[in-house]
């Protein structure tokens, strides 16, 4: 693990940053990455082979402890951050991208979190469950509800 730590950082720092960025501002997101990898270094002996879900779980906990000490984020903050981090896609288009971001911002936090771990972080439901510290079944329920909400609004708009 020691010899691979720099590789681990190179491989996953961007992923952790992207995850942190959609929850907090740029400066804090960089600090979250730093704290996450400090924890990873200290606890490298217990780090599982599949490192990404574990690292995102650490980042999740780091941010949770920060949120406890800081003010709650508003829906407007969430919308702004999601708009900032969402990627561009020719297939989706600019207008639809903005619609999706606004819909995401309106989802309950726990549903959005579960959905984006799968959609944006490419995790399986089991891995997302590891990040959030809940059961895989609970993750699937949250994703299912979130998708239903989004799909319903989308169909209403399309109609």
């Amino acid at each position: 693990m020691t010899t691979d730590f720099s590789e681990l950082y190179g491989q996953f720092a961007g992923r952790v940053l992207a995850y942190a960025r959609r929850h907090t501002n740029r400066d804090d997101a960089e600090d979250v990455v730093a704290e996450t990898f400090q924890v990873a270094w200290r606890r490298r002996d217990v780090m599982p082979e599949e490192a990404l879900p574990w690292l995102l779980g650490v980042a999740h906990n780091v941010m949770r402890s920060q949120w406890r000490a800081a003010r709650r984020t508003t829906p407007a903050d969430t919308l702004e951050r999601l708009s900032d981090v969402a990627g561009d896609s020719l297939e989706v288009g600019v207008v639809r991208r903005q619609e999706l971001v606004e819909l995401l911002a309106k989802l309950p936090d726990h549903e959005r979190e579960a959905l984006l771990l799968v959609a944006w972080d490419d995790l399986s439901a089991d891995q997302a469950a590891q990040v959030l510290g809940i059961s895989a079944g609970a993750v699937r329920v949250r994703i299912h509800r979130a998708r239903k909400r989004l799909q319903a609004v989308k169909e209403a708009l399309d109609a």
Partner: protein
């Protein structure tokens, strides 16, 4: 009608580190901090990037200021600077000594290293690999880190070697021999990995009285300029107001230049420069330039990476020094987590 999850995947954020994230790109350092000294040690100790770290630093600075103020008042009452007195002679430079048992081994000394031995048709000679992955090149895996090219490999003496369509490899074992400029001349191959290094004799660099008023911060600025020949650095007797004694252990061929660097720096505290057994930088710099060229890395710890070797996924040469015999000393100062963060690759230790 596309599924919403499909659309969400299409607008997933990039996982590349963006241009604004300069701290993350620099591995948790402020970019201006420049080249680090010890992997991990630097990342964890020298870069107060976290809010908690900043709070701790502020608290310590505040505490230090109060202590300094109290000490100033007490000192003023005791010294009575308003009364005439004889001038204090200037401080003498620290005397440096190196114990006999810390003299470096000769460059021609018999050394050993562990790893997998790999030979493929695309390589001019066998190489010693530090790590091995099953899912890389060659039908049996791939070499992640090349330690060195090997000469004198006789595969008939390695019965546990396996041959595939794309080459031959022998799983982790120990090679013994001598460094021969650009390669390592093997005279013996053992199936077992390196034995655990025996504890080194107690590190004795020198004893010197620390100068009050010189802090570890002053010393760290000095240390950041000590890269060539650097092995490790640590402080003894450091307090919030004094750097204590700065101990620097370098390879034998850099003792002189390191001492020059210290005396020419703004650091005026006590220091010691000594050597430990291990490969010299001459050893390292002689190695395999045909395949490895140095480049300044921009990775998390600003390691020096070599260029990829043809037919291998990557070669990763870290030009830091690890002398396992030194670990107990580092661990004694920093704790066990830090010891493993002082590296040299290629890693060749003396044959016990």
């Amino acid at each position: 009608m596309p599924d919403v999850l499909h659309e969400l995947r299409a607008i997933a954020p990039s996982h590349e580190i963006p241009a604004w994230a300069s701290k993350v790109a620099a591995g948790g350092h402020e970019p201006a901090e420049g080249q680090p000294i010890v992997r991990g040690v630097d990342a964890l100790r020298l870069a107060p990037t976290t809010p908690a770290g900043r709070r701790r630093t502020s608290l310590l600075l505040g505490l230090a200021a109060v202590v300094a103020l109290v000490a100033l008042v007490i000192a003023a009452a005791w010294w009575k600077p308003w009364e005439p007195r004889v001038a204090t002679p200037a401080a003498k430079p620290t005397t440096m000594t190196t114990a006999d048992d810390q003299k470096p081994a000769a460059a021609t000394a018999r050394r050993q290293a562990s790893g997998s031995i790999v030979q493929s048709p695309t390589m001019s000679s066998a190489v010693l690999c530090e790590a091995w992955r099953q899912d890389f090149t060659m039908d049996q895996g791939g070499c992640i880190n090349v330690i060195s090219t090997l000469t004198g490999i006789d595969w008939t003496t390695i019965p546990w070697a396996k041959t595939g369509t794309d080459g031959t490899r022998a799983a982790a074992g120990t090679v013994q021999g001598t460094l021969q400029g650009e390669s390592f001349a093997v005279d013996s191959v053992l199936e077992t990995i390196l034995p655990t290094p025996s504890p080194a004799p107690e590190l004795k660099l020198c004893g010197a009285a620390p100068l009050a008023g010189t802090t570890t911060k002053d010393a760290e600025q000095l240390v950041q300029s000590l890269v060539n020949g650097y092995q490790t650095v640590w402080w003894t007797g450091a307090t919030s107001t004094s750097a204590g004694v700065l101990n620097i252990a370098v390879t034998a061929d850099y003792v002189g230049s390191t001492r020059d660097a210290v005396t020419n720096s703004s650091y005026k505290g006590a220091y010691c420069v000594g050597t430990l057994p291990g490969p010299t930088f001459v050893d390292i710099n002689r190695m395999d330039f045909s395949q490895i060229s140095y480049a300044s890395g921009s990775g998390p710890h600003s390691l020096l990476y070599g260029q990829p070797v043809i037919a291998l996924p990557r070669v990763n040469l870290r030009v830091m020094i690890r002398v396992p015999e030194q670990d107990p000393q580092i661990a004694a100062v920093y704790g066990p987590d830090w010891a493993a963060y002082v590296f040299v690759d290629p890693l060749f230790t003396l044959v016990p």
